[in-house]
């Protein structure tokens, strides 16, 4: 059984490693100290089980689990945490396995023996937790993930210039290209309302990257964004929103 350990604290990782070795419960094939590395590691080594710390800088454990579920062969997930009353309540209510630090050896053994992949229902439950954090503010993903040719692609939210609904799918555009994702535009709008604004029935643009409004050759109003050449059409009704945004950020006008 291939196991990877994900925790931002080196001593927490070394303790888990030692215990797994003693239990002879499997082979630890890798360690990661943050969510992004963890996802890349999963791609590389295709583990059976991921021991996943909930509280990590950047992408937290809950978000890692959500991205993992999108992979071709999702591994089983066992959460570990020292104390997280809020997240724990949700994890418990969705019957997802977790271990409390300092972890006891028999508990670890039992968890490893019955580790299974997250079900759709459990995942949906976790997503609901992800929406609210202990601070009362909505907790949003830090990355958008998609599988491309069977590989997991991770796109940091800050890179994305706009989301556009085209035909049957939604694309996320970033300077180096675009990614087809599975989320719907309205779900994205709700989750990222602080950073993205709707400019058209079929598009959301990143507020931080808006540079101006201009007219295209057909006379439509379009948003110009930094880093990409594409223009995003703005509906007449929503154009004032962008103008206000430009004014308040002090950016260039038309």
């Amino acid at each position: 059984m291939k196991i990877i350990i994900v925790d931002d604290e080196p001593l927490a990782r070394s303790r888990l490693l030692a215990m797994i070795t003693e239990l002879d419960a499997g082979e630890v094939v890798g360690e990661a100290d943050n969510g992004g590395d963890a996802l890349r590691l999963v791609e590389q080594v295709a583990p059976d089980i991921v021991l996943l710390d909930i509280r990590m800088p950047g992408m937290d454990g809950i978000e890692v689990a959500r991205h993992l579920a999108a992979t071709l062969r999702p591994p089983a997930v066992i959460f570990t945490t020292a104390y997280d009353s809020h997240a724990l309540a949700a994890i418990e209510s969705n019957a997802v396995d977790y271990l409390l630090k300092p972890i006891r050896k028999p508990r670890l053994q039992a968890a490893l023996e019955r580790a299974t992949t997250l079900t759709r229902a459990q995942l949906a439950g976790l997503e609901a937790v992800a929406q609210e954090s202990s601070t009362g503010r909505p907790r949003t993903r830090t990355h958008i993930s998609a599988t491309l040719h069977g590989n997991l692609q991770l796109l940091p939210l800050g890179e994305i210039r706009f989301f556009r609904a085209e035909h049957k799918y939604v694309t996320a555009r970033y300077p180096e290209g675009q990614l087809i994702i599975e989320d719907t535009l309205s779900a994205l709008e709700t989750e990222f309302e602080e950073r993205f604004v709707r400019v058209h029935r079929n598009a959301l643009v990143a507020k931080a990257h808006v540079r101006g409004i201009e007219r295209d050759t057909q006379g439509h109003q379009c948003v110009r964004l930094d880093g990409v050449d594409d223009r995003v059409e703005v509906s007449r009704r929503l154009a004032p929103v962008i103008r206000r945004l430009l004014k308040s950020s002090g950016g260039g006008g038309d």
Binding site: D8, E9, P10, L11, A12, S14, R15, A18, N34, R55, P57, G58, D60, A82, Y83, D84, L100, K101, P102, I103, S133, T135, R137, R139, T142, P156, L157, G158, E194
Partner: protein, 371 residues
């Protein structure tokens, strides 16, 4: 203000401090109002309105200020009696003062005035019946009885008011104290369990480090469970910060680096306990934990002729990670409140920084440990 706070905690008497200028002023104002009421209240209006007001005021201020003076100088004695007996004693004292003042007023003012009036009446028109009635013993007794009754009622109302206010004040105080204690003993549970995990892990690999972390953790908890009202030395408080940051360095590994530039700080200066450690904990919680690539926490300080300055600076994670942890300013506000309660207006907590750094600066006077 500070003095009053100190006095309140010094004795537990329900009476306000009558040596305080503010209280004396209130007594004078209330006395003047009472004089107005007494002059305005008769149904048949008197022709000597101003004279009556002046005489009433004079008399009431005699009684009120003498009582206040006695309560001020006798406070130490009263506070040994306990609230119930002190209340009775104060009541008796005020009645006695009123009696003495009434006697004095009768013999020094009323009697001579009436004698003069009597003389004028006799000299002007000897046929008229002299106004001898007010001069009689009956009038004297009635005068004393009236004054004593008024004093008895007013003093009872005032003492009752002081007692109710005292109850309210002590309730507010005990609530505030409970809140401070609750905040103070609130070392983040996440930190406790993570430290336990660190110790569990170190026990295998390096027992000596495990020992040190256990010792540091024990000291930290001793400090946080200690009496909130006992001040500590700056040296001790910085040591608590060092212990706390040592534990975090074990836990977070290479992600955190700490710097101390505290040689210029006077070791014997006093400050309320656990004022710096919560700020160091905040620095780790908001500055280091959310940062993938880690950062630094620096504690520096010095003193000048205006007092002591301590700065706690931490690096900030990049903006993406920052939004995930909204700061609640509770720890910071708590520290500021406790500094102000201890040092008064001379203490301040200021925050400044830019996109990469965050600094909390404390300023407070240099008070040496008295003990």
């Amino acid at each position: 203000m500070q003095d009053r706070v100190a006095k309140l905690s010094e004795d537990d008497l329900f009476l306000p401090d009558f040596c305080d200028m503010g209280t004396v002023f209130t007594v004078v104002v209330v006395g003047a109002l009472l004089a107005f009421i007494l002059v305005l209240s008769p149904v048949v209006s008197t022709t000597h309105w101003w004279r009556d007001l002046a005489l009433n005021s004079l008399f009431i201020q005699w009684v009120a200020l003498s009582s206040a003076g006695l309560l001020c100088s006798g406070r130490r004695w009263l506070s040994t009696l306990g609230n119930a007996r002190a209340g009775i004693a104060a009541y008796g004292l005020i009645l006695l003062v009123s009696l003495l003042c009434s006697e004095a007023a009768y013999w020094l003012v009323a009697r001579p005035v009436m004698d003069v009036e009597h003389f004028i009446a006799q000299a002007g028109n000897s046929d008229l019946v002299p106004r001898s009635v007010p001069m009689g013993t009956m009038w004297h007794l009635e005068f004393l009885a009236k004054n004593l009754s008024i004093t008895a009622i007013v003093a009872a109302v005032a003492l009752r008011y002081f007692y109710v206010q005292y109850q309210w004040r002590s309730q507010v105080q005990s609530e505030a104290k409970a809140r401070i204690q609750a905040l103070q003993s609130r070392i983040r549970p996440h930190f406790l369990f993570n430290s336990m995990n660190t110790i569990a892990s170190l026990t295998r690999t390096s027992p000596e480090l495990a020992e040190q972390v256990t010792e540091d953790l024990a000291d930290l908890f001793r400090a946080s469970l200690g009496d909130a009202s006992v001040p500590v030395t700056l040296e001790r408080e910085i040591e608590v910060c060092r212990q706390y940051l040592r534990i975090e360095e074990q836990r977070l590994g290479a992600r955190v680096s700490t710097e101390f530039e505290v040689d210029d700080l006077p070791a014997d200066a006093v400050l309320p306990g656990l004022t710096l450690q919560p700020l160091a904990e905040n620095a780790i919680y908001h500055g280091i934990e959310p940062a993938e690539h880690g950062g630094f926490v620096a504690i520096s300080g010095g003193s000048d002729d205006r007092g002591i300055v301590v700065r706690i600076t931490n690096s900030l994670p990049d903006t993406d990670a920052r939004s995930a942890r909204q700061s609640n300013k509770m720890a910071q506000e708590n520290v500021e409140q406790r500094l102000r309660a201890f040092f008064g207006v001379n203490a301040s907590l200021q925050v400044f920084g830019d996109a990469t750094e965050y600094t909390v600066e404390l300023r407070f006077p240099y008070l040496k440990d008295a003990s």
